[in-house]
């Protein structure tokens, strides 16, 4: 087994955790694993410091979302077994699609295979999450996952500090926007 496979496994496992389990604790765990995988793969092309920015920003965004959900004091909607089986199958198909479009994507985008694979898995996982929820917390996780996938691919193409900084700002912004979505109704009256 190639060492590059380990972060890819992290990404696949984290995607399944994020899709199968709807509680905020599992989401935080999934997101933490996901960004470790992202960091691991991106550190091959970007300096470790820049790759670490993505790890820290991703964790921060996840922490902001989870703490907002906890502050709200409402439990996230739970899913029954049939829902989990359905979502699990959707994600299995998503992973299959990611691997099957990989050769075509390689001709388009000249980045390392492991980065592209991980990026495609997260892009598809993010889209699946976005497509299966209307909940602000889950939606923000979907956006973060989608962006993490894109960032992995883009890190292989562009290695600019400004891009890393702005993408970090956008990740944090999505975390804050998601937090605002979750808590807006509980804020003080309009005025």
């Amino acid at each position: 087994m190639n060492i590059q496979t380990i972060p890819l496994l992290f990404l696949i496992v984290s995607s399944f955790i994020l899709i199968l389990f709807l509680g905020w604790r599992y989401a935080l765990l999934g997101l933490a694993l996901q960004y470790i995988g992202v960091f691991w793969l991106i550190a091959q092309t970007l300096p470790v410091g820049l790759a670490a920015v993505k790890l820290i920003v991703g964790w921060m965004a996840g922490a902001i979302l989870a703490s907002s959900q906890v502050s709200l004091g409402e439990e996230l909607p739970v899913s029954d077994l049939s829902g989990r089986i359905f979502r699990g199958f959707v994600m299995i198909f998503g992973v299959i699609v990611a691997f099957s479009i990989l050769p075509a994507a390689e001709t388009w985008i000249p980045v390392e295979r492991s980065l592209l694979t991980g990026g495609l898995i997260l892009l598809i996982s993010g889209l699946v999450q976005l497509g299966l929820t209307g909940n602000p917390f889950r939606l923000s996780l979907g956006l973060l996952t989608f962006l993490a996938g894109f960032e992995m691919i883009y890190a292989g193409l562009v290695s600019s500090v400004l891009v890393v900084g702005l993408l970090g700002l956008i990740n944090l912004g999505i975390g804050l926007a998601g937090s605002y979505f979750i808590l807006s109704a509980t804020l003080e009256e309009t005025g």
Binding site: Y154, L162, Y180, F181
Partner: protein
């Protein structure tokens, strides 16, 4: 001092400062309106890159600001656009005071404008996508007032705008990475497709636009109007900048054909949906789509007259959306529902708002004497001469939209059985009447206004050489 500090950094810092003053809505709104008017005045009066003498004082406004090795450039070419954007902001912030907008409106509004101007100024242009995304994120507190739950329209707005960003960045990487002649020729059309998808998601091109009527229906019309006025206009200007900077795109007839088809589909579908619409706030969303369709169709013609019609169309678009959003806001602030079942007697309760609403919609439909008419007429003549096959479809869309507006008119003039009290206050009437005055002035004296706004095309200088 440099121009980007004046028109990007100062609004950003002002927005952040106003956030601290957000509880004092009048003060925050007044400062935002005053600052926007001041920056619009400076953009009109102050040449960039030249030495200005004020008494014994010499000022030179530099064009560039360097941050982390990248530059933000604002030149004299961008000044007309700055005048338009900051004038529009001054009007929206001023109106926001009268229409009692929530406490995040002015602070975040200024930050959104700063990010959008930053997107237009940043070089290399691929960074623009990141700044537009920041503008989208900053507009979330604008659209969801504190104390109200988030609705699906805003969520979809965020999703679609965020999905658009990676496409633009990827396309920007292909087109922005040096000599594109060294690329495999097959990659350029693919990059153009990616770029087109990105802009389609950003602009809400068919079939990605269903969030627009949802957004206008579920959020306060004034906030939605502000975002839907500035964001698509900035995105369109960014698109023109892309086309202007990339010779391959300018020479690609296929791309312009796709832009035309997208514009036509937007006009037809928005027109047809508008004809069957029973909720005026959703019609507002279709009006935005309809306007964007005309803008894309004008750009798609890829001739100088087409680009000039696009530029001239910005003023009536901004004015029409402002009057429409203001009228709907007056109704919303007085808890007046805007679906057809609850409109009986509305004209007696809100006469000026109803007149504003109907005339703004008529202006967008291109009815004579109103602001939209001269540009619509020119646009239709141009489409008829350049693309005779398209004109029938465009007229069909126009007819659909007009039917929707006539249906609104027929419902709002139904009088109540009992005499009703007028509920608008004099400030609301005042702002609507000023808007209506300009709707007529633009329509009656188009040359006076449109000749100046056409200069915004200097943002994309290569397009001025189009035939």
């Amino acid at each position: 001092m440099s121009a980007p500090i004046l028109w990007i950094v100062i609004p950003l810092v002002a927005g952040m400062t106003l956030w601290l003053l957000r509880r004092r809505r009048w003060l925050a709104g007044g400062i935002a309106a005053g600052l926007s008017a001041f920056l619009a005045g400076l953009a009109a009066a102050l040449p960039i890159g030249e030495v200005i003498r004020l008494g014994g004082l010499q000022i030179e406004l530099a064009e560039s600001l360097f941050i982390l090795g990248r530059s933000f450039n604002l030149t004299n070419n961008e000044r007309p656009l700055l005048v338009v954007i900051f004038t529009a902001c001054a009007v929206w912030f001023g109106g926001g005071l009268i229409l009692r907008q929530h406490r995040f409106f002015a602070p975040f509004g200024l930050m959104v404008v700063s990010a959008l101007i930053g997107a237009l100024a940043v070089q290399p242009f691929l960074y623009a996508a990141l700044l537009v995304e920041l503008a989208v994120l900053l507009s979330i507190p604008l659209l969801v007032p504190p104390g109200e739950p988030v609705q699906s329209g805003v969520q979809r707005f965020l999703i679609f705008q965020t999905l658009g960003m990676p496409f633009i960045l990827l396309a920007g990487w292909v087109f922005g990475s040096g000599d594109i002649a060294q690329f495999d020729p097959a990659i350029l059309p693919r990059a153009a497709v990616i770029l087109g998808l990105g802009f389609a998601l950003w602009l809400g091109v068919f079939p990605f636009y269903f969030w627009v009527p949802q957004l206008t229906n579920q959020t306060h019309p004034y906030s939605a109007g502000f975002v839907l006025s500035l964001l698509p206009v900035s995105t369109l200007m960014l698109g023109l900048d892309f086309i202007s900077q990339i010779g391959w795109l300018r020479a690609s007839s296929g791309m312009f054909l796709i832009i035309q088809l997208a514009g036509m589909l937007m006009i037809i579908t928005a027109g047809i949906w508008a004809a069957f619409q029973d909720e005026i706030s959703r019609l507002f969303g279709y009006a935005v789509i309809f306007e964007s369709g005309y803008a894309l169709l004008s750009i798609g013609v890829n001739t100088l007259p087409g680009y000039m019609i696009f530029a001239a169309g910005l003023l009536p678009r901004l004015l029409g959306l402002f009057v429409l959003a203001t009228a709907l806001s007056v109704l919303k602030n007085h808890d007046q529902p805007t679906d057809f079942d609850h409109l009986q007697g509305i004209f007696q309760r809100f006469p000026v708002a109803v007149i504003g609403l109907v005339l703004a919609l008529f202006s967008m439909s291109g009815i004579p004497l109103l602001a939209g008419f001269p540009v619509r007429l020119e646009a239709l003549e141009l489409f008829a001469s350049q693309q005779p096959l398209l004109i029938g479809w465009v007229l069909l869309g126009n007819l659909g939209f007009l039917i929707g507006v006539v249906r609104v008119l027929l419902h709002v003039v139904r009088l109540a059985d009992q005499p009703e009290q007028r509920l608008e206050n004099w400030k609301e009437r005042g702002i609507l009447l000023i808007g209506l005055l300009f709707l007529f002035l633009f329509g009656l004296m188009p040359g006076v206004f449109y000749q100046s706004v056409i200069f915004i095309l200097r943002v994309a200088p290569a397009l001025l050489a189009a035939r």
